[in-house]
Each structure stands twice: as C-alpha cells, then as structure tokens.
C-alpha cells in the first residue's frame, strides 16, 4: 500500500501522521488525531457536516485527501475557541438557540466563520448563501441564520 509520512498543521498544532494515499482528511482527523468534532453526515460532499478551514477557506474534509493538505493550516471546530473563550459565533449559536442535535453545528460554524472573515456584515441572503452547503434537519436554519447575523453585528 501507498503509505506516506506527512506533517499536518491542525488548529495550530503540528502532527506527524502516516497515511495511505486514499485516506481522506476527515478520516485522519477523526480516527488518527482524535478530532471527532468534524462529522460525517454523508461522506459524499453533500451535507457540509465535515467542513473544515484550509488556509481559511472552507473545504469538505470527506472529499479532501489527507496527502493533499500537507503544510496548510487546517482549522476544525475544535480550533474555534481560544482556550475556554468561545468565539463570538460559537457564543451566538448558543445564545440564539441555533443548536439542536448539534450534528450539523461544527460544519455550520466553520462555514459561518469563513463568511465573517471576508464579509463583516453579511445580509440575510448572503448568510443563507454561505450556509447553503450545510444541511440541517432540526432547526429549519432560522435560528442559525439569526445567530450568524447577531454575531456579525457584535
């Protein structure tokens, strides 16, 4: 099998991992690094539960080969808070009831974090656009959009 030792930078920490060439970033994060915050909702690029930031751009970890991200800054949901201090978006999700079962939440937070990095004051439509790759069965998206809006006004 095609095995490689690579260095991954996740949430500011360096990891040396040995990966087979076919393994996805999602598998490596969840199984090798124990970072199970990123979820597998479909494994096919359709739900956004596995979204992570790659050099501050949203990618779907289930469609990304681990080998291809060596040397890039990877941010997962575990990396959004600074120690105990939640990011304004995380806090806003809690305050506005944007979390129900929580399975979509990591991906939602990643997509909205990326949005607020480039657009400080998105309108509702822009938020809906930014979250359109993230499915949620529980909330009807209503309070998620509200939470992102509130965080941007913060």
């Amino acid at each position: 099998m095609d095995n490689h030792i690579i260095e991954l930078k996740v949430n500011g920490e360096g990891y040396e991992v040995s990966v087979d060439s076919y393994r996805t970033l999602l598998e490596v994060l969840r199984e090798d690094l124990g970072l199970t915050g990123s979820k597998e909702g479909c494994g096919m690029g359709a739900c956004g539960a596995c979204a992570v930031l790659l050099d501050n751009v949203v990618v779907l970890a289930c469609l990304t080969l681990a080998l291809s991200v060596e040397g890039k800054e990877i941010t997962t949901v575990e990396g959004l808070a600074k120690g105990e201090e939640l990011s304004p978006l995380q806090q806003s999700f809690i305050d506005h009831g944007a979390v129900q079962c929580g399975f979509c939440t990591p991906g939602m937070l990643i997509s909205s974090t990326a949005l607020l990095m480039k657009n400080f004051h998105p309108d509702e439509h822009q938020i809906q656009m930014a979250l359109s790759g993230n499915l949620c069965r529980c909330t009807g998206y209503v309070k998620i959009v509200e939470a992102v809006k509130a965080a941007s006004e913060h």
């Binding site: 539960a49 575990e78 809690i94 506005h96 929580g102 359109s132 998206y141």
Partner: protein, 774 residues
C-alpha cells in the same frame, strides 16, 4: 405571556449541551472508540422477495482481518417487534391488550422481503476489510414473486409476504362513531376525494450507529443512537434471548431522530450479535445510502375522504378509508393506523366519524414512525378538502375552521377529553398576524395564502409504556443532578427538564445537571416518541424535585425552628415564609442532613403515570393522553407559473403550548417542524422503481437548504388548566401536522390548482396548470 409564578420556567435558557456542541466536544455514537474495537458491516438482499437457499461465508471468513461472519443461523432465531405490547404485561393483565406478531429478525432466517433486508453481518479489524468480506459471501436465492403496490397487496393471488398475514394485512381498524349515515343525510354538501402521500425519509444528519460490547459476565452494553433506550433494551433482550437486566442501553449524543430512531431499523442488533461472538467491542455506523435504503419511511397513504357539511359550514359526518403502505415489516404499523384514525377527528367538532384503516405488507423498505406520526397524512386530506368545501359554500377558510373548532371541555367522538384547547386563539392570531383578510381581499397574482390546523398528543399511553420516573439528588455543594429516562436527541429535553427542576427547588438553572437515558442508571421512561418528553418527563422531574424539597424542608425546619409547611425555597436558600431574615442556604441544609442529621443524602424520586386510558386499537375509544396540543398555521407562497416551482415565503404558526417551559426551544421545534413539513409538502419523496430506491443521496433526495427555507413566525398560545397549573404540552411534532396542508391550500389560493398528491412538485403544478388552461 410572562409567567409570574415561575423563576426559571418560561425563560429562554440556553441549551445545557450548547458548549459541548459548539466546541466539537459532544461525542456521538460514531465518535466512540474502544480498545480492540471491530467494525461491522451488513450484507443486504439484492432481491425484493426471495428464499435463502444457502449462504457460503467460508471465503469471507478466511479473509485476513475478518473476525466473524454471521447469518440468521448464528442468531437465537427469535423475532422482535416495535409494538410488542403484551409480552411486558404483568401476568394478571394478560390479554388486556392485543398481541401484535413479532416478525423481525436481526438477520433473515429463511426469506428476504425487500431490497436491503439484512442477510449477514461481518466484523473485521477495519471498515475496508469488512466491506471486502461482504463481497465474498455467496448467497444462493430462490426468487419469489414480489409486490410493490399496496393496492394489489390484498388481491387474490398476491405474493404472500409473511405466512401469518392473510391477504398481506399487517393490521386493520374499523371504527364507527356516532350516526354517520344520519350525519350525511343532514348534509347540504358531500365531497369525496382521494389524497395520497409519499414515502418521506427521516434523514437525521447523524446516520444511525452504535458500539456494542459484551463483558466477561455476558452483560451487553450498547451505546446506541436510538430515541428509545428502554424499548431498544426490550427488543435486544428478546432478539438475543437475554434477560433485560443483562442489557444496558446508553445514548451518547444523538444527532436527531425525527421519529426514525424509534423504529428497530438500527444496527444495534447486528453489532450486539457480532460482539457476542467475537468478544470484542463492535461498531456499526450506517452509510448515508443505508439511511435512504434500509431505514424506515413515513407511511405512504392512500386516503379516501368523504365529508358532509351544512350550508353554514357545520361538519355533519366524515368517512375516511386509509390504505397505508407498510413495506416489509410491522415496525410501528398498528400505531400509525390508530393515530391516523384518532386524529381524523381531533381539531374539529365531529360527532359522526367512520374510519377504516388497512396497513398492508409490500416488498419495500418498511414504513414506521415519523414526526407527527400518523397525523400528518390524514390532516393533509382533511384540511385540503375543507378548503374545497369552503370554496364551494363561499365561506372563508378561517371562518369554516373557527366554526368547527374544538373548544375546551369538549370530548371527541373517540373519547379524547380536551380539557384545554387554544385552537380558536391559534387560528385567530395566525390570521391576524398575516393580515389574512386584507391579503384575501387584494390578491397579488401567483401569490397565495392558506391556512390549516392540527392537533397532537403529549405522550400516549400504550403498554408497557404508561409512566415515567425521575430522580433528583443533591450534591454536597448544593448542586443537583436529575436522572431521567427522557432521551435528548436534540429537541432540548435535558435543558427544559433542568429548568423545571431548578424552578421547583429554588436553585439556579446552572446548578442542575442532567443525566439522561441510560437503562442501567436512569428511571424507566419509554423514550422520545409520541411527544412525551416535556409532559411526562417534566411532570416526573417536578415530582422528584418536590420530593427532594420535602426532605430539605424537614431538615431545614429543625435548623430554622419552623414548621416545614411554612418554608419556601428560592435563590439557593430556604426561607421561612414572611420572615426573610430567617433563612439558610440549601447547601448548608444538604450538609447538615449528611453530618448532623440522620445521614439522608437528600434524594428525591418522582413519577408520572399517564392520566389516560390505554390505547384501544379495537374500539378506538379512550382518552390516551393528559394534554392535547393544537395549532394553526398560515402559509404564504408564491408560484412561478413558468417553472411550476412553489416557494414558501413565510409560515406563521400559532401553537397551543400549555405551560411554555422555554420559548426559545419551542420556537426551534416549531421552525424545525415547518422546515420538515415544507420538505414533505414540496420536495421530499424516496422514489422507488422495481423495488430499488433511486434517490439515495441528499442531493438526489432534495433535502432543502437554507436558500429554500421560509421565514417562520411563532406565536405561543399558553393555555391554562385550572385543575392543573403545570401543563407543559408537546411542541415538537404537532406543528408539522398542519404544514403540508397549509402550503397546499396556499398554492391553490395562488394559482387555482389543487394538488392532492404529496409532494407538490413543479411537474405536478405545471401539469395541473396546463389542464386548467384547457
């Protein structure tokens, strides 16, 4: 309405598990990892109906990394069921409730009955090896004639799917309340229509999954994504032929369920069997494709509805014949038929109701419970037809609903006792908030507005699940832990139960921790289905907190030299009523009890016994829940007549919540219900051809995104029960009941086409527009 008598109840408290969920700390079944854990996979039938002649697993077993391959022969051969009522009755109650045959096996014994039926299971050191092993299992089948059409299931010569089920009838119901013929003879108008609904897939974002492990004493522990650990424990104990107390079912974080994780289409059975054989922990997680092909659906129904009405809009009689496509197995079948009939008559004053329901077996994935179980489908028919009637009679849709709406104190034809009912307020407020009158007077082309109402139960008494227990224990620092069997699947039960406990004990919301849903530790509760969490679980938690408070007061009375009856608890203190200077911190009382008193650790217990009759499938009569929720909603849509696409712009929902524990959480439930109901109305259907489900990904299935979602305005109508000031009604399912019909009525209002088959796709709208234009 701000509730003056409560301090924590009625507040928009943030979720107890909020931090865990926004930081990625929340661990769901697939996030769990145990030393030596194996990965399981299930081999499924490629045929809709076939006899298994032989299974040769020798090649699969030889594959490096494979630890076990099991087939039906390796199981106890015992069937289990979802509606397995009689087995759990105490002996002296035998025969008091009907028996429903158990026919599901963890792995097929002799026959497969749908494409996807479980044939064999593999455990291997990694997932890829397990998958490879599946390919190496050789199964010889003898194909049998199959049937996918529920209308043909009862015909002479139709393939027999289960030996016991004559004419493929899984269950049937026939009720006749009042004087139906007389009711029709009094009617000025009688309408008869046929409506159909589709197979909606639950698609919780978390695929079903579990980790099962047997210990050296033969005890099974399973972390399962189920909505109902106690029910699952019964099923596992039956299928594995083990005493119930040797099975421990725990739910880790559960990523949504919307009804589907009640049914026994979860991999718990196969994982447990594999673990028993390998003596290792075994994890099975369904793929998204399995979620679409091998888990239950909402029952597709064919509904023939006949309604009689007087000129002034008064309903005189209803007859409804329902044929439910059950698919291959029983699952919740008898219950869905019961609910469909029971909710036919709940919402309106309808003394004369006749109902026949059949649930038949076909060679498809089984149908089961889904949010608004059994109530959504007939509601679509009733509310659509009521608008057709209103139009024929020239009555406003809001008026005809107000005219027939149930009132507090009413008893329905099937003996539901409606003590509190805010339906009238729900209708009036949702109409008022949407400017119903004005919008109807000056319509905008291709824009429409439609109303619908609904009702639901707050938990249903169906043996053996007729009560709920809770325990409350104090820690030495004055904090509290609630033990509850209510399963947190995202709906927010941990949070609202903590609010109830904090309120009763006079401690802060932050002081209350919740341990929920572990059959070894938490008191019995049926699980999160039929909307019992808040009402049953809440009443049990309140009673347990009250019991703990009583113990606190006894100790405090000695310390404060007062009578326990004169004490009150608030702000983490116990006060002598009327003498604010005489007070002691609760923490001090707990410690005093442990050290100075008799050592009582202050542990309260409480329970709720359904103040209701058991479901009677045969007569349909009986008051099966303590409180009924009611709702009305107004949909505002726009239809693109070029493309046929309907868009829901806004849904305004009035919901009778009884005592609202957490308005933010209730709104979340209402928004989620509208979202799912909109999906069912406009997009969602598992499409099947020759027994194969064609749309097995989110994209093909059409689960809608944030771009399609409507605005939702939630109006909470807090009815009060003078006999029971604490009446927190369900909020998680009832709203969805009325959503598809409100949207359908709005589409008619917009473009004048009435679609009687869900979902209302652009193709159907275009076809209807074309026909209308002819």
């Amino acid at each position: 309405m701000e509730n003056k008598t409560y301090s924590v109840i009625g507040k928009r408290k943030p979720r107890k598990d909020g931090i865990a969920k926004v930081t990625g700390d929340a661990r769901y079944a697939d996030d769990l990892k145990l030393p030596g854990m194996l990965f399981g996979k299930i081999l499924r039938s490629p045929h809709p109906h076939a006899r298994i002649v032989n299974i040769d697993a020798s090649r699969a077993k030889r594959l490096a990394g494979v630890k076990a391959v099991i087939t039906g022969k390796d199981t106890a051969g015992l069937p289990y069921g979802d509606v397995d009522t009689s087995r759990y009755l105490p002996p002296h109650m035998a025969g008091e409730v009907p028996d429903f045959p158990n026919v599901k096996h963890p792995l097929a014994l002799d026959k497969v009955r749908y494409i996807g039926d479980e044939v064999a299971a593999v455990a291997a050191t990694d997932e890829a090896t397990a998958l490879e092993a599946l390919e190496l299992i050789e199964v010889e089948y003898e194909l049998l004639p199959h049937n996918f059409d529920p209308l043909k299931a009862m015909e002479e010569g139709a393939p027999q799917i289960h030996d016991y089920a004559e004419k493929n009838i899984c269950s049937k119901i026939f009720w006749d309340f009042g004087e139906v013929e007389k009711g029709f003879s009094k009617a000025d108008l009688i309408r008869e229509d046929r409506f159909t609904t589709s197979a909606v897939t639950h698609t919780p974002l978390e695929p079903r999954g579990c980790v099962a492990v047997f210990d050296q004493t033969g005890k099974l522990t399973i972390w399962s994504s189920t909505q109902s650990p106690y029910m699952r424990r019964q099923q596992l104990s039956k299928a594995l032929d083990m005493p119930e107390s040797s099975v421990r079912v725990v739910t880790p974080f559960v990523g949504g369920g919307v009804g589907g994780k009640v049914c026994s289409c979860e991999p718990d059975f196969q994982a447990a069997l594999l673990s028993r054989i390998t003596k290792k922990p075994v994890k099975i997680t369904y793929t998204r494709e399995e979620e679409f092909t091998a888990t239950c659906k909402r029952h597709p129904m064919i509904i023939d509805l006949k309604t009689g009405v007087k000129k002034d809009g008064t309903l005189t009689a209803v007859q409804c014949d329902i044929l439910a496509d059950g698919g291959a197995y029983v699952f919740t079948g008898p219950v869905v038929l019961y609910l469909a009939g029971a909710f036919l008559a709940t919402a309106y004053r309808l003394p004369n109701v006749r109902y026949s329901g059949y649930r038949v077996f076909t060679n498809k994935m089984s149908s089961g419970a889904q949010r608004g179980h059994g109530a959504v489908q007939p509601r679509f028919a009733v509310e659509s037809q009521l608008d057709m009637i209103a139009e024929e009679l020239g009555i406003d849709p809001v008026e005809i609903r107000l005219k027939n709406a149930l009132h507090p104190g009413d008893t329905t034809a099937n003996r539901f006792q409606v003590k509190t009912c805010g339906l009238k307020e729900c209708i009036e407020l949702s109409a008022e908030h949407t400017h119903w009158k004005e919008k109807n007077e000056s319509p905008v082309p291709n824009h429409g507005i439609g109303i619908s109402v609904g009702a639901f139960i707050s938990g249903m008494a169906i043996p053996p699940h007729t009560s709920s227990g809770a325990q409350v224990k104090f820690h030495e620092d004055g904090a509290v832990t609630l033990l509850t069997g209510v399963t947190e699947i995202g709906q927010g039960s941990d949070t609202i139960l903590a609010q109830i406990v904090a309120d009763e004990l006079g401690v802060a919301f932050e002081d209350v921790r919740v341990v929920s849903s572990d059959t070894e530790i938490t008191p019995v509760h049926a699980g999160s289905y039929s909307s019992r969490g808040t009402y049953w679980g809440g009443k049990a938690a309140k009673a347990a907190a009250f019991d703990a408070k009583k113990q606190l007061f006894e100790v405090a009375a000695g310390l404060l030299e007062a009578n326990p009856a004169d004490l009150e608890a608030r702000d983490r203190m116990i006060f002598v009523k009327g003498s604010p200077e005489k007070a002691i911190p609760i923490r001090g009382v707990v410690l005093a009890s442990l050290m100075e008193g008799d050592g009582n650790p202050i542990m309260g217990r409480g329970f709720y016994k359904a103040a209701a009759d058991y479901v009677n499938f045969e007569t349909g009569e009986g008051n099966v829940t303590g409180a009924y929720s009611f709702e009305a909603q107004v949909a505002e849509v726009e239809v693109d007549t070029e493309t046929g696409k309907a868009r829901l712009h806004k849904m305004t929902v009035g919901h009778d919540t009884g005592t609202a524990i957490n308005p933010m959480s209730i709104e979340g439930q209402m928004e989620g219900s509208v979202s799912m109901g909109m999906g069912q109305a406009l997009f969602e259907e598992s499409i099947m051809k020759n027994g194969v489900i064609l749309n097995t990904s989110f994209v093909d299935y059409g689960l809608h995104t944030s771009m399609d979602m409507a605005k939702v305005e939630s109006i909470l109508v807090e009815t009060e029960n003078p006999d029971d000031p604490f009446e927190p009604k369900e909020a998680g399912e009832g709203t969805q009941v009325a959503t598809p019909s409100a949207i359908s009525n709005a589409i008619y209002n917009a473009v004048g086409v009435r679609i009687k088959e869900l979902p209302i796709t652009p193709e159907k709208i275009l076809k209807a527009l074309e026909e209308k234009g002819k």
